[in-house]
């Protein structure tokens, strides 16, 4: 089972009471959706913060980055890239930029 490195934003790290990267075991085939499910299972407090409770759609002001690409608009059934599966690259949940 691949061990995947996940980086979540500051506010969610505080909420989940973690620091730094999170390492998750995600069953094959590891997809964006199964990774998020594994994350929410390990940290139930994160349910509803990345995906809507009911629809499981990505919350509009969050983005998913991996391997220098934006995966936010990919369906959650999309397989994670090889470098993420091998643990070479993290999967990043990022709060979209705002402020002035």
């Amino acid at each position: 089972m691949p061990v995947i490195r996940v980086i979540i934003p500051f506010h969610l790290r505080r909420l989940a009471n973690v620091s730094g990267e999170v390492e998750l075991e995600v069953p094959d085939p590891a997809t964006i959706g199964s990774l998020l499910e594994a994350l929410e299972t390990r940290f139930p407090v994160l349910r509803g913060t990345i995906r809507d409770f009911g629809t499981l759609q990505r919350r509009p002001l969050l983005r998913f980055f991996a391997c220098q690409e934006d995966w936010s608009l990919e369906p959650q059934t999309t397989l994670l890239p090889e470098a993420v599966l091998r643990g070479q690259e993290p999967f990043m949940v990022v709060g979209s930029m705002a402020g002035g």
């Binding site: 407090v45 913060t49 919350r59």
Partner: protein, 371 residues
Amino acid sequence: MSSVRVLVGTKKGAFILTSDGKRDKWTVSEPHFTGWEIYHMKGSPVNPNRIYASQTSGWFGQKIQRSDDGGKTWEPVGSEFAYDGTPGNHLWYDGTQHPWEFKRIWHLEPSLTDPDKVYAGGEDAALWHSADGGQSWQEISALRAVKPNLWMPGAGGMGLHTIVLDPTNPNRIYIAISSAGAFRTDDGGKSWKAINKGLKSLYELPDPDADVGHCVHRIAIHPSRPDVLYMQKHWDVMRSDNAGDMWNEVSDNLPTDFGFPIDVHAHEPETIYVVPIKSDSEHFPPDGKLRVYRSKTGGNDWEGLTKGLPQKDCYVNVLRDAMAVDSLDKCGVYFGTTGGQVYASADGGDSWNAIVRDLPAVLSVEVQTLS
């Protein structure tokens, strides 16, 4: 000896201020939930160490936090706020119908008798109830059967921001929504009626006397006289002597009758407080002078309270949930500003002090009187 705990929700976290009963020296906690908007915190009247907090974010959604040790430590509880069935539509700014969408919880109102029971008012407007300490929430959906197609968001969103529990009748609850108006249930939430007769919204509604659609900002009662309601409407300060069946304006000599909060003295049911704001276009005090206005006659005869409050160059706002009273003798009155100050009066409003300055913009203030 008595003590006081002030629960302050801000745009960037929560703060807890404590003092003994003299209320002249205050301790300010480290921030809780840093970076999150804390719309409201309120303690159970039955168990003051049980406090509920609404933690919300445009990025990360809604969380409810609960403390069982007076705010020292917190645990997240349930935060899934689902509308019953198909949510339906409400009026949108452009006159079209728009589907209900959950955004956040504006106000938490713990039960007067059971610390595990709590009500939550949300945006888009709906009322939820939890009977298990906030672990799970069920919508009291009969409320949204009262002409919901005419409810429309105010400038700040369509929030259910006021929940008043009648201390003498557990089946009676008042709620208020911007911009739908005030509503009452007399059967514990099974059915609701609009209680907006007498409200006039000359510039906000095509029919100024409409049944629903009024922009009510806040309602307050005194527990000894729960049929007497005081309301700060968008414009106008109003009073009802029959549980909201009819309202009469009591603005009289206020410098402006626009404002957000309204509250009642803990021991004098005819003494009420408002903070006049210049207008709906200019959300700051008239003439740059921050003044609380007090009426000792239940409205209509208002005196400006200025001692200790800035009387020049003050351009803050005081939001609807940002005023509260303690129950000490003399009654303490508290309010927070969008400039990050929390002002307190330990003498019923005669004089004021900033008990903390330079917090993030204050969204809510609640007070617990502890023995």
